[in-house]
């Protein structure tokens, strides 16, 4: 069993990211399960999503306590909490930030220290170029694919196409490709960051009205 915890904030699309990741794993031949952890469903509040891959049928429904990998959608979480708690020995982490891996380690000492275990990617900058808004899920899954090899970039694209269409799908797929390439290009240098973002990109961006709620990650309203 391979278990991934996704940390983000309400409104960033954590639930969509964990489902997209499960779809990428399923497209890659795994049994898969995605499960949101419902805390306080307020925009901006920390939110956690869980994804499991397995060759066998997945029985358990407990929260993921010891992840094999962690994906951090929001860099401000690093200073607010420890998203790497419980990560197994040799576990991976992908962080959406302009910081370098060593920069993340200085902020959050529990970030994976071994070579090839921690990737940073300026996903907000990348996605802003292609979609016009910082909704980084697909880009981070592209980075996750490059870091871990558990899923392929092709599976990420499949998952995006299952959830979105048109310009929104195209922008997400392009973002995943750029993030995948970024991690591949910078894998040898733990001090490589992106202090100035990634620079302008020519892209046919969707309009605000074309962005679906699920991608923006409108938090579930608990009509209690």
């Amino acid at each position: 069993m391979f278990q991934i915890v996704i940390h983000g904030r309400g409104g960033q699309g954590v639930v969509t990211a964990s489902e997209m990741l499960a779809r990428a794993g399923f497209a890659g031949g795994f049994q898969a399960q995605a499960m949101p952890s419902f805390g306080s469903e307020r925009t901006g509040a920390p939110v956690v999503g869980y994804t499991r891959f397995s060759k066998e049928r997945i029985l358990t429904r407990q929260p993921i306590l010891a992840p094999n990998a962690v994906i951090v959608l929001d860099p401000t979480l690093l200073r607010a909490m420890n998203p790497f708690g419980g990560l197994v020995e040799g576990g991976w982490a992908v962080v959406n930030t302009r910081e370098s891996p060593n920069g993340v380690r200085r902020i959050s000492p529990d970030a994976p220290s071994g070579p090839g275990l921690l990737a940073t990617v300026p996903a907000d900058d990348i996605v802003r170029e292609y979609l016009g808004r910082p909704i980084p899920s697909a880009a981070l899954l592209g980075a996750f694919a490059a870091l871990t090899g558990i899923i392929t970039l092709g599976s990420v694209s499949d998952a995006v196409r299952q959830l979105f269409s048109g310009k929104v799908a195209a922008g997400n797929i392009a973002s995943a490709e750029v993030a995948h390439q970024w991690v591949t290009d910078h894998s040898g240098d733990p001090d490589a960051g992106a202090p100035d973002g990634i620079g302008p990109v020519q892209a046919d961006r969707p309009t605000e009205a074309e962005l679906p709620n699920t991608l923006i990650g409108a938090p579930e309203v608990s009509n209690a």
Binding site: S18, E19, F26, M35, F38, L59, R61, Q62, N223, A224
Partner: protein, 396 residues
Amino acid sequence: MHELIEGSKAVARAVALCRPDVVCAYPISPQTHIVEALSGMVRTGGLVDCDYINVESEFAAMSVAIGASAAGGRVYTATASQGLLYMAEAVYNASGLGLPIVMTVANRAIGAPINIWNDQSDSLSQRDSGWLQLFAIDNQDAVDLHIIAYRLAEEISIPIMVCMDGFVLTHATDVVDMPTQEMVDAFLPPFTPRAALDIEHPSSMGMMAGPDIFTETKYLAHRAMLGAIDRLEAASKEFAEVFGRRAGLPVRVLGTDDDAAPGRHGQIAVIAMGSVLGTLEAVLPSLREEGVDVHLIALGAFRPFPSEALARAIGQASRVVVIDRAIQVGIGGVLSGAVRRAMKGSPAPLHSVAAGLGGRPITQDSLAGIVRRAHAGNLGDLTFMDLRDDVIEKVS
């Protein structure tokens, strides 16, 4: 076809495959995604010949369901928690009138204190309402149980709640083998009501029953509920013939080669309903490796309560552990109370374990710890799993 799908969307599609005439809906978490998905299907033509009725409350939802069912329609609604309590008066009327409504209960705690998370207090509070209550282990089960529920409800003229753990199942994305329309049509014939209101042939339904016949009405309802066990087993068997998998068994022993026919009994029998069974099944191998002789019993139906099958499945176990997802304050677990009654005459001690109340995560470690304590003879009659002493001390 196997696909990855959110539990709520899978259930909505299963309901659509059952060709409901009327869907009435009032949103409440965690069932909202189900009725939203059905609304989308009606709007976009994925569900035809169906009236989707937005109502102003859960009481109205059940009242509209009663009216539509009495007029001979196949009816669906869904609710949870306070919503189920708000419709309770009409819930009893639906069963008393013998209307085969199918309703999903996305199980959720009842306030106060307000809590939107999962336990099974809501549907279990309606245990005496005269409805059947089937409990899904996972989202495949949830899909299959809705199809079985329409078939069975219409055969026996009793409404059915299909209970699935809120959030844990409704919001989980899992691999589900979605049935085809052909399969569902082969299993579920069009609804032919025993009696229906008809403007052309006026009649009344739900007349007053005085002291002269009220006892008899209740006796007949009791008899029909007892008979529902055999009918559920038969429907489950036929389902397997059409769909190639078992669903709807009132009692199953999990983790054995043959779920339907328990071949292996342990010293400790663990009994549960709903999604906690998956987490329990995941810890079985390590417990057995440690030498804890345990078997896991899945209760698929709380109403009708399959007392005889349950007693057989418990077998000669020397201890029985019941995972209770709802409690009767001052008494103990709701499920364990029913199990105790089914175990009459058995010398085995019964241990009730209140677990996962109001969404407290149920972990494999905590469950394994409970079973180990039972094995060692250190488990009390009633345990609140993972009780936080720090919180209790502050209040005491």
